[in-house]
């Protein structure tokens, strides 16, 4: 019985395998119009309606399963797209930063080509800290006395005059902005010999006021105000001539003409700045040439009041 069962089982297996091989060989060898292909087509014709019916009936099941699959796929897609978005955003920010820095560098180069910077050595620095207030008037930079920066060095960027160094450490310095009430700049209207003193407007530190204007020049709205390169009792820092300070926005006529100025520099978004440090030996000749431009008798008084440490405290003039 057992032997018979085994023989029958083996025979069945061999028969089915041989049948499969015959089917395979015949199907593979015959033309597309052959018998087995015809049987397959007929079978498909018979089964197709059933298959369609089954497909229609099973469509909701497929949709539900597909929905889960799509949700999972969408989740991974969202994660992937978020990653790409963050990457692109970072690239865009970096690109914008590069563009801004390039623009800044171009502006600085432009200013340096126009301003009279002989005897100065510009040092690039980055603003690392701003006083957290809309009324802030100082910023800290990441370069200090080790780079030759000293108190009263002029600071500017690609847009114009930023301020003056008021505190110096070895690797850092504090810059008082031109909107600081302690800062005053000798300035003139660009293209005219008339000069005056630029100081912050009382009650509106984001705007400047050009006062004590000497001369009879016609000032109109939109005129550019630049540093004059002169010293006087109010403007204690000898800024090189020709650095833009701002644009005339309005003129107030009274005993003195007061001119409102909008600063050229966006002081709330400072980044890269240049500090004009002294070249050793150049200071004295610069002082002499500046004092020589003063009326007779006033140059000596200014020189006498100037401390040995620098030109910053040079007074007199008018």
């Amino acid at each position: 019985m057992n032997g018979k069962t085994v023989r029958r089982r083996r025979a069945l297996l061999i028969g089915l395998v041989v049948l499969s091989l015959i089917l395979l060989t015949a199907y593979f060898g015959e033309s597309p119009n052959g018998g087995l292909h015809s049987v397959q087509r007929d079978f498909l014709t018979v089964v197709s309606p059933i298959q369609d019916g089954a497909n229609t009936a099973l469509k909701p099941v497929r949709s539900v399963i597909g929905w889960f699959g799509e949700v999972l796929h969408a989740k991974s897609e969202v994660s992937k797209l978020r990653h790409e978005r963050d990457k692109l955003r970072a690239e865009r920010v970096a690109e914008q930063e590069r563009t801004r820095m390039d623009r800044e560098a171009v502006g600085i180069a432009d200013i340096e080509s126009k301003a009279k910077l002989a005897g100065y050595k510009p040092v690039s620095a980055e603003v690392v800290f701003e006083t957290p207030s809309s009324w802030y008037s100082t910023v800290d930079i990441n370069k200090g006395s080790s780079e030759g920066i000293a108190i009263n060095d002029a600071v500017y960027n690609g847009e114009g005059l930023v301020g003056v160094v008021t505190q110096v450490a070895s690797e850092a310095a504090q810059v008082s902005l031109i909107t600081d009430s302690e800062v005053a700049v000798s300035a003139r209207i660009a293209g005219t010999p008339d000069w005056g003193i630029v100081q912050p407007k009382v009650g509106d530190p984001s705007h400047l006021l050009l006062q004590f204007l000497h001369g009879k020049a016609e000032v109109v709205k939109g005129d550019i105000v630049v540093t004059s390169g002169m010293i006087n009792s109010e403007a204690k820092s000898l800024y090189p001539a020709g650095i833009p300070i701002g644009t005339v926005t309005s003129i107030e006529e009274s005993a003195y003409t007061s001119i409102n100025i909008r600063p050229a520099v966006e002081l709330h978004s400072l980044d890269l700045v240049r500090v004009l440090t002294d070249v050793p030996g150049a200071k004295q000749s610069r002082m002499s040439s500046s004092l020589a431009s003063l009326p007779a008798g006033k140059g000596e008084a200014a020189l006498a009041s100037a401390p040995a440490s620098g030109y910053a405290q040079a007074g007199g003039g008018g």
Binding site: Y27, L44, Q51
Partner: protein
Amino acid sequence: MSISSSQVKLAFRIAALIVVVVFLQVGVVSEVPVFGVTVELTPLLAAFVGLLCGSTWGALAGFCIGLFVDLALVQTLGVSSLLFTLIGFWAGRLREVRDPQAALTPLAVGAAASAFALVGLSVIEFLLGVDAPVSLLLLRQIVLGVVVDAIAAMPFWVIVRRALRPSLPQDPRRRRSRRAYSTGGLSPLSRA
């Protein structure tokens, strides 16, 4: 050789199961990719019929499943029949000779059946001259297919066993009184 009514019932159940599973495979399962591959229920069905009913039924069911699949999917006739016949027969012989008792036997058998079917299909297609890309991608597809089929094997095993159990022949292992299942129960494979 006489055919009993229980065998006829079993044949009908297997035939019905083949039709349902093939339509399910074509209509639903093949349209839902998992990890980039689709679950192949047909080799699992051939293996599980063999595992439940023995080598003869396994080989016959495998041949029929393969033929049905080849006809329905307009594939080369005989390829799936050959592979599934061997799978069904091998699974049946495993039951008859080894009598595996582990609860995870269906998973292992399903994975082996899937691997055999996928590799066998690739080899036959290659031998027939079909331009099958023999690459790491194909290997990855085969491995993923085996993993996915192994995952689907356990729930599918439960379904197949429930469908065929009422017509299953006497469990030959009941005669083995020396075994742990001699207290009256069936092996975990045959228990509902």
